[in-house]
Symmetry: none
Subunit: 402 residues, 2 copies
């Protein structure tokens, strides 16, 4: 396939129209043992009313059958080919935690874990509170400033999570995860995946040993696992590519991180869905494009909590009039992937998509759910095509060819 983003960037024109991308993380589901999906079970009069006035379809995030992580799921929706642009989890986590990442840095996503006789007993060290783990991060920061000539920085995250940043010359991020992935397995060191990364691997492994030494008296948080080693990727910048001043409204660091990576501005917001929508309202005059991230559809999908996922959808529905009252020229409601409660994990299933604008082929669909979307006017499309449709409905694309 062509480089769709390149083609769009050549057709983009400015306009005064506004686009809202409401992303309900992991919203797609399967009926499983229930007879309905959460979208079908939820009472959602506003979403269903919008569906009757919208184009519906379903998206393939990466490729049929392929389950995306959050990075590729989001990048695709922002119009970035997720196979061309592959981004380590470390960088996303770092950016989302407001860690400044420079071109010479390698960052990793770290977990506190519990180890005994070199066996990883608990990959999350009993899920400490954010407060508890922050103290241990502080302890590490005091005890370890560098390994060889490489500067080491630690940044506290939520619960057992933290970020490690290495700053130095010729660092390389082609490193395997220092994580056994499963509990009951021996602790593992990182390995260089390319000869150029051998020095960085050695430094990381020295760091892992240092951390174990410093934390040896901790009852639970007595070692660290590290994953997703990555450098700062240079992505085409969303505002330049699409000529859109773009705001990101998200409650979780990871999603602010990916938005910052593509050049969106982060707008501070509260923790609830209603507060997020109120933030859109407050910033309405300052931006052309609003990416609004709802996290908990995914969280409850991963927990296998059907009722709670239904409830989050109902919460979105209830708050939706805040967005509708702003009369966005284009309102897109979709997810970055499916997270079926029956699977308790991200999945490969197509993702419901709804595009509301006055140019929609409205009238076919009766509700916003997986089945109406499967039979909607848009058909089954790749997620990377959504930005083109957003721009089109916003009358922000010139004609292709004469």
């Amino acid at each position: 396939m062509y480089d769709r983003q390149q083609i769009l960037s050549e057709l983009v024109q400015t306009a005064s129209t506004k686009i809202v991308l409401l992303l309900m993380d992991g919203v797609g589901d399967v009926p499983g043992e229930k007879d309905k999906t959460p979208l079908q079970a939820a009472r959602k009069p506003n979403l269903d009313r919008v569906a009757r006035e919208s184009d519906l379809g379903q998206t393939i995030p990466v490729m049929h059958g392929v389950t995306p992580g959050s990075g590729p799921g989001h990048l695709a929706l922002f119009g970035y080919d997720p196979v061309k642009y592959q981004i380590g989890r470390g960088i996303l986590e770092a950016l989302g935690s407001d860690v400044d990442v420079g071109e010479k840095d390698v960052v990793a996503r770290a977990n506190f874990a519990t180890i005994q006789n070199n066996i990883v007993l608990d990959r999350r060290a009993g899920r400490p509170s954010t407060e508890e783990s922050s103290k241990v991060v502080e302890k590490l920061s005091k005890a370890i400033q560098s390994i060889e000539d490489v500067k080491v920085s630690f940044y506290a995250g939520k619960e057992h999570r933290f970020v490690v940043k290495l700053t130095g010359e010729d660092l390389d991020d082609r490193l395997s995860d220092a994580d056994p992935q499963k509990e009951g397995k021996p602790f593992v060191y990182t390995q260089a995946l390319a000869p150029e990364a051998e020095r960085t691997a050695r430094i990381v492994n020295k760091l892992l040993d240092e951390i174990k030494r410093v934390l040896s008296d901790e009852p639970k948080m007595n070692c660290a696992l590290m994953r997703g080693f990555s450098k700062y990727p240079n992505l085409p910048q969303f505002p330049a590519v699409y000529k859109l001043k773009a705001a990101a409204i998200a409650t979780y660091p990871m999603y602010r991180g990916i938005a910052r990576l593509v050049g969106m501005e982060i707008v501070q917001t509260g923790d609830t869905i209603k507060e997020e929508f109120e933030t859109v309202k407050r910033a309405w005059n300052d931006y052309d494009f609003f990416y609004v991230h709802v996290k908990k559809t995914d969280s409850y999908g991963e927990d296998g909590n059907f009722e709670a996922k239904v409830h989050v959808i109902e919460e979105v529905d209830e708050a939706l009039p805040i967005l509708l009252d702003l009369q966005p020229d284009v309102l897109i409601v979709t997810g970055d992937h499916s997270t079926p409660t029956a699977l308790k994990a991200h999945s490969w299933h197509p993702v419901p998509l709804m595009i509301h604008s006055k140019y929609a082929r409205k009238g076919l669909s009766k509700a916003f759910d997986e089945f109406e979307c499967a039979r909607g006017t848009l058909g089954t499309i790749y997620a990377v095509d959504v930005m083109g449709l957003a721009l089109a409905h916003a009358l922000r694309l010139e004609k292709f060819g004469a």
Copy 2:
């Protein structure tokens, strides 16, 4: 589009799940002058019951509008890009007839034909019995051992068909078919399609003359047509790419041939559909993946025999409980292409697809036919994407990206 098989191979993980790919050759059809397709006309309670618990969709074997041969139709379903991997019919026929093909060999699919005054009167020489034609193949083997310094071998096939193998140095398979394709036309020689193939073309044409000479006293089988000249292609091997121990169960040589080409193991089976399904049962513990080929939906499509095609579908339906009782984690029912009875030939029409697993978005579709599939949960996809979905439903793929 990316090399999908490459992406899948990087995500594949092992599991204990089992996948059955039930391929009803040429099953797709069009209503034509009838009001229904054979799938709609058939009484098939089992297939329809499975459809209600499955994801349905339709596949494009190669490209919209493009009618595939059996080779590309199958390769695509096995996850091989059918444009990237183009395979001569000769090689398939040879492998299916248990002919050992080496790297220096060129093979062709041959037909006995009836010729008079250089006009091909019957391209199948009156469809001789396999026994009759085997005798004539034996006669050729005795009379012709080599042309110039190239060794020639003949292998009997079903009815009018046989295989010719040339063994020698620097043979080239870029040769046009030595077949007028229609009856009532003059006999044709092969032509080199590249300068490097000129020597091989000369040898083949000498061979064609020799065959005519040796068979000049035969009443019907008095000449040979040759098609699909090909060398042994080196394809990525299915078991290695997908980490699946794969069995092929097929009654016709051609389909065993293509399965062997991708590295599946051939399991001996009986001639009926029921016997094929019983073979799956017998081999159940020895493999992860079962490719089961039903030929006659295609044969009767090519004959334009609507009722007989309906009957084959009913026969599949009746035997289906043998497969269902094995409780495969994933059961896929589809075809490699459509063979509408109204066309009496392979066609470009999308092919019905059904994927049954406990992670299907069940509930939308009511039956397994072309129309329900066109409006199913999977949408219209390329056949090359089916393997990704098979692996996904079998929980055999890791997440892509973080």
